[in-house]
């Protein structure tokens, strides 16, 4: 029970910080001072206190969608180990639950968007769902590779020790997987070059246009949910990189935190260095991610799967 | 008793020619049919074979065919009561008279124990059915009759030659070509002549049976004859022809020529099935459609006979099923023709809606003809396929199933449209009632086919076993 609470605590508290790190990095590259590191928290609280506006077209799905969605992401976090912290619930095949809970969250966001009857939101929803299909298969393939390497079916098993020997044996392969995961992260969390979280220009957008009509507490929850999702994907990547086992909790936490900061900075660098891609080229990012992981898979097979 | 069976329809036929009133002729027809039927079924209790003299006798296959003929004839006789309404007296007289003669000759076919007599009887059935086929005397019906006559006569001439060859083969050993004697003296026949004889007899009797490529008369005659006659042709005449093929098989079997015989019979059978598909698909005339289906079923029967073993059981069972099924099918087409006055399938629409009973029987006929379960044809087709697989005839089995599927496709396309599609002019055609005398025989035939599909009475089973025993070992 305790682990449950710690885990949820981390998931509830830390995610917006990552947004701050990214923001700071981007500001640095733009030569600005930028918003404070805790801007994410401020935004959420600001939105939470606002007065909501609802469309008369909408049903309860519009209002409950963000909640179900965020709750699902949070529930997905329950099976994911954070750093050395074992997931409170772990079982063979929990990775599938993880992906499907994310899918559940997306499903309700899409429905909430469609509930408004606005064609802009319909468009965003359509794009979001389309890209999600492609990123999902990459995630599955990556997870299958990791499972194959670590001989474990649960996320905790994979990340807490299962992979430790693999870096030595098939390190390059794991790098491919990390890159592939990183690309998926960019897509799933609507970061540049896939999507621009800052603008609301409808023709170019995917995720942001989907939440166009949400306001107040729901929007706050959505922002938090986004941050949480980014955090979870970050967890995947970071714990893949730091998959060796250290007994010392403090050291582990330090590694992990620095990893996260590194990830935030990496995302920030990418966002600063690249422009947003045209919509039809976004696909190529996803294809690339998928091909990286296929490549990794083949290498493992040829190597006699470690 | 056998003599009675032979003479009864002859006498009744003669009476029908002279009786002045239509009602009396009908009574004669029905009572003769009933008596004949009763007489035939009285044989079921007695041990077989029954023989009257050297020439006449009933063995198991003979009795089987005779029973089918008699029962189907009875049904058709009942059906005829409601079928004819206002045709001239003279044609009614001729029709009933020749109908009874036809029955008499078919009885003779089943009862003859001498090949010569068998052939005479078959020729007589051909000749006596000519006035029946040419009943309506339109151009088409005359054409059909002409073709029927010429082709069947040529066939029979060849069969006759086959019989003489058989006689040559027996020179020096067997006294004459009595079937029993031929069978009981195997191995003493001159093989080249016997082979010739089998080939000629097969072609001759195959012509009558409607095997491809000698089938060409069949669709014409069946489609142009009045429907009850088509039912008799398809249900009785073809079976009589099959009986003669069975006789040949008996002789061939006794002489150890069964593989030789099968190697011809099976290709002919499968060709018949294939041809039936070609002509059933997209067929415009629904009577021709059922006629081609007769070709198909005769092909199946031939395959079963050719396969031997359990195939013979299936073949005979299929013969019975097919007879009743075809009787059913053609009687239903009779109903349809009376209500729609057209043989074009395209003119017949919405049968289920307009004439629900006829519609249901049309569907039943279609399903039975296609060999769907609950109907006897399913079981017999299954047994024949079983025999094919038992003999490792995989290619045969493949084509068998392929053609069955294609034929089903063709039949379904036509019949279902007839039954279900709405008529273009809903109210234009008046709906005449469905008279009981035209429904009850159909119902009865349906029941027979269904019962044979779920239950084969032990006595029938015994008879079938006895028949297939004739070609076993």
């Amino acid at each position: 029970m305790n682990s449950f609470i710690y885990h949820l605590g981390i998931l509830l508290v830390f995610p917006p910080l990552l947004l701050g790190v990214i923001g700071k990095t981007k500001a640095f590259f733009a030569g600005r001072w930028g918003p404070p590191l805790l801007q994410g928290y401020y935004d959420i609280f600001k939105l939470g206190r606002k007065q909501p506006v609802y469309s008369v077209t909408t049903n309860w799905i519009f209002r409950m969608g963000p909640m179900i969605s965020t709750a699902a992401i949070l529930a997905a976090g329950i099976v994911l180990p954070i750093s050395g912290l074992k997931a409170p619930v772990q079982f063979g095949g929990d990775m599938i639950l993880f992906v499907y809970l994310l899918a559940l969250s997306r499903f309700f966001m899409v429905l909430a968007a469609l509930d408004t009857g606005s064609s802009f939101e319909g468009m965003g929803a359509s794009r979001e769902a389309t890209f999600a299909c492609l990123s999902e298969i990459t995630i599955f393939l990556n997870l299958a590779i990791l499972a194959l390497l670590s001989k474990s079916l649960s996320l905790s098993g994979i990340f807490l020790g299962g992979l430790s020997s693999s870096w030595g044996q098939v390190g390059p392969v794991l790098i491919l997987v990390v890159v592939s995961f990183f690309l998926v992260l960019l897509c799933e969390n609507s970061r540049i070059p896939v999507d621009d979280p800052e603008t609301h220009l409808e023709l170019t957008m995917i995720h942001e246009v989907m939440v166009l009509d949400h306001s107040a507490a729901e929007l706050a929850l959505i922002v938090y949910g986004q941050a949480l999702k980014l955090f979870l994907f970050g967890c995947l990547i970071v714990s893949m990189i730091f998959s060796f086992k250290i007994r010392n909790i403090a050291a582990e936490a330090a590694f992990f935190t620095s990893g996260f900061f590194g990830l935030g900075i990496a995302i920030g660098i990418v966002e600063s260095a690249m422009a947003r891609l045209r919509l039809n080229r976004v696909l190529y990012v996803l294809y690339a991610a998928f091909i990286f992981s296929i490549f990794a898979f083949i290498v493992i097979l040829v190597r006699g799967h470690a | 008793m056998l003599l009675f069976l032979l003479l009864l329809p002859l006498i009744a036929g003669g009476a029908a020619f002279v009786l002045p009133q239509r009602g009396w002729r009908n009574k004669v027809l029905i009572s003769a049919a009933l008596a004949h039927c009763a007489g035939v079924f009285s044989f079921w209790r007695s041990p077989l074979p029954v023989s009257l003299n050297e020439f006449l006798g009933l063995d198991a296959p003979g009795l089987l065919v005779l029973s089918v003929v008699s029962l189907l004839f009875l049904m058709v006789a009942f059906y005829l009561l409601g079928y004819f309404k206002d045709e001239p007296d003279i044609s009614h007289r001729i029709f009933i008279g020749f109908l009874l003669l036809f029955l008499a000759f078919m009885t003779l076919v089943s009862a003859s124990r001498h090949f010569g007599l068998l052939l005479i009887a078959i020729e007589a059935t051909t000749l006596s059915s000519v006035p029946l086929i040419n009943f309506v005397k339109t151009k088409q019906s005359i054409e059909a009759t002409w073709k029927f006559l010429v082709i069947c006569l040529v066939g029979i001439a060849l069969a006759l030659l086959g019989i003489y060859f058989l006689a040559v083969a027996t020179i020096g050993n067997v006294e004459s070509i009595f079937i029993d004697k031929l069978i009981s003296h195997p191995g003493q026949l001159s093989l080249p002549w016997l082979k010739m004889s089998v080939i000629f007899l097969l072609i001759g009797c195959g012509t009558k049976m409607g095997l491809v490529p000698m089938h060409t008369w069949l669709p014409d005659a069946h489609s142009q004859a009045p429907s009850p006659v088509s039912a008799l042709l398809s249900g009785c005449l073809l079976n009589c022809a099959f009986l003669s093929v069975f006789r040949i098989a008996q002789v061939a079997h006794a002489a150890g020529l069964m593989p030789f015989f099968s190697s011809m019979l099976i290709p002919l059978g499968i060709m018949s099935m294939g041809l039936a598909y070609v002509f059933i698909l997209g067929q415009e005339d629904y009577k021709r459609m059922f006629a081609y289906s007769s070709v198909e079923h005769m092909g199946i029967v031939a395959i079963g006979l050719g396969l031997g073993g359990i195939g013979i059981y299936g073949s005979l069972l299929h013969m019975i099923n097919n007879a009743f099924t075809k009787g059913l099918a053609f009687l239903v087409t009779g109903n349809l023709y009376q209500q729609y006055h057209s043989k074009r399938a395209g003119d017949v629409r919405g049968v289920l809606r307009r004439h629900p009973l006829t519609g249901i029987f049309l569907l039943a006929a279609f399903l039975a003809v296609s060999g769907l379960p609950l109907f006897g044809t399913f079981i017999s087709e299954l047994i024949i396929l079983y025999a094919a697989l038992l003999g490792h005839h995989y290619i045969l089995a493949f084509f068998y199933l392929l053609f069955l599927a294609l034929i089903f496709m063709g039949l379904a396309g036509i019949v279902l449209k007839m039954a279900q599609a709405p008529a273009e002019d809903q109210e234009a055609m008046e709906t005449s009632g469905e008279s009981p005398s035209m429904i009850l025989p159909v119902l009865f035939l349906t029941l027979i086919v269904v019962v044979l599909g779920i239950y084969i009475p032990p006595i029938l089973n015994g008879l079938l076993q006895q028949c297939s025993g004739l070609l076993a070992g």
């Binding site: - | 020439f55 001498h114 010569g116 007599l117 052939l119 005479i120 020729e123 007589a124 051909t126 000749l127 000519v130 040419n134 005397k137 151009k139 088409q140 005359i142 054409e143 059909a144 009759t145 002409w146 073709k147 006559l149 010429v150 006569l153 040529v154 001439a157 006759l160 030659l161 003489y164 006689a167 040559v168 083969a169 027996t170 020179i171 020096g172 004459s176 070509i177 001159s190 080249p192 002549w193 010739m196 669709p219 014409d220 489609s223 142009q224 002509f279 067929q283 021709r288």
Partner: protein
């Protein structure tokens, strides 16, 4: 006696060839009648030594029924037919003749392979009968007039009958007579149907009888 028999057989074949080349229906019927009469005489030649009453009876019946009754009946059938000649046969007269020649050769070849179990009067009977049968077939397929086809069929029958001559002793009289009668009635019915055709269509051209097809 073999000489007589052989002579009769050769004549029969010759008559058949004549039938194939004659284009007048009347001539065909005449020739057929002649051929049947000759055929009726054949038993006398074959069973010259062991003549019995019933053989004579069968032969006589054959002459009467096939040689006399049938031709006159056929005449009756075409009494109203306007065009009495086979104008455009499907297989030309020359071709038919050539094919018939081939058929005769083939029949003799076939007959050498089929050894008759007992010694018979002449080894020409079997090939002749085969030749007649094939010529009959040729007429059936090559002629378009209904009556010409009937004649073709009858020639075919004659072939069968010729073969039957060898086996007169083998078959019971009843069967033999039955067959004879049956064939006669068949010819009768054919004639009636030809008559019907003539009534209904005003001609006896079977090429017009092709409405029933798929």
């Amino acid at each position: 006696m073999n000489v007589w028999l052989d002579a009769a057989l050769v004549l029969i074949i010759l008559l058949a060839l004549f039938i194939t080349v004659s284009n007048r229906l009347g001539t065909m019927i005449h020739l057929f009648g002649l051929q049947s009469c000759l055929l009726g005489c054949v038993p006398f030649f074959i069973y010259f030594k062991q003549m019995e009453f019933y053989i004579a009876f069968v032969a006589g019946a054959a002459i009467v029924l096939r040689g006399l009754a049938m031709p006159s009946f056929l005449y009756w059938a075409i009494r109203h037919v306007s065009s009495r000649s086979e104008s455009n046969p499907t297989i030309g007269f020359g071709t038919t003749l050539l094919l018939s020649g081939a058929a005769i050769v083939g029949s003799f070849l076939l007959a050498t392979r089929l050894v008759f179990p007992v010694r018979i009067a002449s080894d020409m009977v079997v090939p002749c009968s085969f030749s007649l049968i094939i010529i009959g077939f040729l007429l059936l397929t090559g002629r378009v007039k209904a009556i010409a086809q009937v004649v073709g069929y009858l020639v075919l029958e004659n072939g069968v009958f010729l073969f039957a001559m060898l086996l007169l002793k083998k078959m019971p009289l009843l069967v033999e007579m039955g067959i004879l009668l049956d064939l006669f009635i068949a010819a009768l019915v054919l004639g009636i149907v030809v008559n019907n055709i003539n009534d209904e269509f005003d001609h006896t051209d079977t090429l017009e009888l092709t409405t029933l097809k798929d």
